[in-house]
């Protein structure tokens, strides 16, 4: 284990960005963007989690095996989302009765 020490400045900057994004989410929640409501909220959330994973969890400075673990996990989350949404998005294609 090689403990990669980052300057505190980076943590504070990331923290500030995260807080700003939180405020942004709240602000956007009051605007009516139609179908873009969810997409906007999720985009900000994904951006925030990427920052947490890269900097707070030190993945940016980790060996490739760690990257493989992270990418693998995200890919598996993708499987869950894609195949589940595959159901929801195609239910209306066919009508019965």
């Amino acid at each position: 284990m090689t403990g990669h020490v980052l300057p505190k400045r980076i943590y504070y900057t990331i923290f500030a960005i995260l807080m700003f994004c939180t405020l942004l989410t709240v602000w956007i929640a009051f605007l009516d963007l139609g179908p873009l409501n969810t997409i906007a909220a999720l985009t900000i959330a994904v951006f925030k989690s990427v920052l947490v994973i890269l900097f707070f969890m030190h993945v940016k400075y980790s060996p490739r095996l760690t990257w493989a673990v992270v990418i693998g996990s995200v890919f598996w989350l993708g499987i869950l989302l894609v195949l589940t949404m595959g159901d929801y998005l195609t239910r209306e294609w066919r009508h019965y009765g």
Partner: protein, 539 residues
């Protein structure tokens, strides 16, 4: 067979410290394996007791032995105990814990304290679930389908769910430990493709545990939150969708079937090689088939939802993907058979279990193809056909492999031999009892008998009586090994290092092994199952 004098090593992991503390605070993976063995066996017999009550009720068509509500609790608790507290930890936590470090030539798992912690977490989860059971039980079925589990059921859903939630973490940590160990702790010369196939299957199993179990944990949490605080995840009245629960639940619970059966396949590969004295046919194919099953297993969960209101297009895709899993599974079955072909097969107890596994798993797998095809599945959904199918996989597959492995490595674990006659006899009884119990259920299901009812039309009685009779034979078959294995601990003949004349690092150290596994750290210069060059037989 071992030659020369067979002796009990003066120092081994079992006599390295006595007393309850030396066990409950141990970091030795072999002792932790035995802690798991004891716990898992306990839960197996609790789950088995529920099965006895279920089969007693179903001996007659009328619902006369227990009330309908009690019956709902019986099959729920049977499923919860067997799936989450027996089948999933069975092979990984016992045989896996014992063998993974030894098979790669390491002193212990990479994270020994975490390993002990996994056992305590497992026990804690088990206690929660046992509490739920004593406090009146739970009646949702082991699948906890919403909206019944979140809106209607008045039984102990939360404590049971919490128990499963907690136990899930033990599963995740065990998987993590195995993955790290296999990556980092292999002895010099132990390359990935020299690893015994048991390790490939444990690695694949660990991947599923780490990737799948968190989804189950979150799903259970959502059920608890909806039940307690009425958040609308699954309840349509609150804007939720009950089918979403099924998506999330089966995303874990279909791969969980491979958490149960992959380790068993790993055991069978070891047994077939050892008792045919041959390299497993197509080693690379069998190794990659394990990984392929682990990955493909995550793409098929929708086959549990063909009649649940899922989109028909989704159903077709899930159906096609489900058929794909048959390919790596069949690769394994064909390769074991090809290994046996012209091998010098010796018919000792573990091999009987291995052959039992191959036959029963094949039946379970092929009937799985029936269920993967949408049209036929609609006919047999929620009937005894399903029950028969998954018991052929989980009991005929997992349990056969578990018992085969337990018998094969018992001399290594205990240093002593069991009674071969009784062992063969009980293997036969189990095979017979199993088929008598579950084969009639295929017919019952095809004829339309639904699962989860405590009463049924009288024309189904003959087949149900056969099934109940089979279950009693099966029960006897499970009790006999308990007795002679316990007996052998004290009175069994000494085994020596290598009673089967098998190759593999675990047979090069004493039986039982020393706490540090090997007198000196091994260096590996040979492939797995190298029966051609030399068989080193030490006393």
């Amino acid at each position: 067979m071992s030659t020369g004098t067979v002796f009990m090593p003066p120092r081994h992991y079992l006599n390295d410290g006595y007393g309850i503390r030396s066990w409950l605070l141990t970091r030795d993976h072999k002792r932790i394996a035995l802690l798991y063995l004891a716990a898992v066996t306990l839960f197996f017999f609790v789950g088995g007791a529920f099965a006895v009550l279920i089969r007693l009720e179903l001996a007659t068509p009328a619902g006369d032995f227990v009330s309908d509500e009690t019956y709902n609790k019986l099959f729920t608790m049977h499923g919860v105990m067997m799936v989450f507290f027996f089948l999933i930890p069975s092979i990984p936590a016992t045989l896996g814990n014992f063998l993974v470090p030894i098979m790669i030539g390491a002193k212990d798992l990479a994270l020994p304290k975490l390993n002990l912690a996994s056992w305590y977490i497992y026990i804690l989860g088990g206690l929660f679930t046992l509490y739920a059971l004593i406090a009146g039980g739970v009646d949702t079925g082991w699948t906890f389908y919403t909206p019944f589990s979140t809106v209607s059921s008045t039984t102990n859903v939360i404590p049971t769910a919490l128990g499963i939630f907690i136990t899930g973490f033990s599963s995740i940590l065990t998987g993590l430990n195995f993955i790290v160990t296999i990556h980092r702790m292999r002895a010099p010369g132990m390359t990935w493709f020299r690893m015994p196939l048991f390790l490939w299957s444990m690695y694949a199993t660990s991947l599923i545990m780490v990737l799948g179990t968190p989804v189950l944990a979150i799903t259970i949490l959502l059920v608890a939150v909806e039940r307690l605080f009425h958040f609308g995840f699954f309840d349509p009245r609150l804007g939720g969708d009950p089918v979403l629960f099924q998506h999330l639940f089966w995303f874990y619970s279909h791969p969980a079937v491979y958490i149960m059966v992959l380790p068993s396949m790993g055991v069978v590969s070891e047994l077939v090689a050892a008792f045919c004295r041959k390299q497993v046919f197509g080693y690379g194919f069998v190794a990659f088939a394990s990984v392929a099953i682990a990955v493909l297993g995550f793409l098929v969960w929708g086959h549990h939802m063909f009649v649940a209101g899922q989109s028909v297009y989704s159903a077709l895709i899930f159906s096609a993907l489900s058929f794909l899993v048959a390919i790596p599974s069949a690769v394994k079955v064909f390769n074991w058979t090809a290994t046996m072909y012209r091998g010098s097969v010796s018919w000792q107890t573990p091999m009987l279990y291995a052959i039992g596994f191959i036959g029963l798993f094949t039946i379970g797998g092929l009937t799985g193809l029936f269920l993967a095809s949408v049209g036929l599945d609609v006919h047999v959904t929620d009937t005894y056909f399903i029950i028969a199918h998954f018991h052929y996989i989980m009991v005929g597959g997992t349990l056969m492999g578990y018992l085969g492995g337990l018998h094969y490595w018992w001399p290594k674990i205990s240093g002593r031999l069991y009674n071969e006659f009784l062992a063969k006899l009980s293997a036969g009884i189990i095979f017979l009892g199993f088929n008598l119990t579950f084969f009639p259920q295929f017919i019952l299901g095809y004829l339309g008998m639904p699962r989860r009812y405590h009463a049924y039309p009288p024309e189904f009685q003959v087949l149900n009586v056969l099934s109940s009779a089979g279950a009693s034979i099966l029960g006897v078959g499970y009790l006999i090994p308990m007795l002679y294995l316990m007996w052998s601990l004290r009175y069994g003949k000494l085994a020596g290092s290598n009673p089967w004349g098998a190759v593999g690092l675990e047979w090069t150290t004493t039986s039982p092994p020393p706490t540090e596994n090997f007198a000196e750290s091994p260096v590996v210069t040979w492939d797995a199952y190298d029966y051609q060059t030399t068989v080193t037989v030490e006393s």
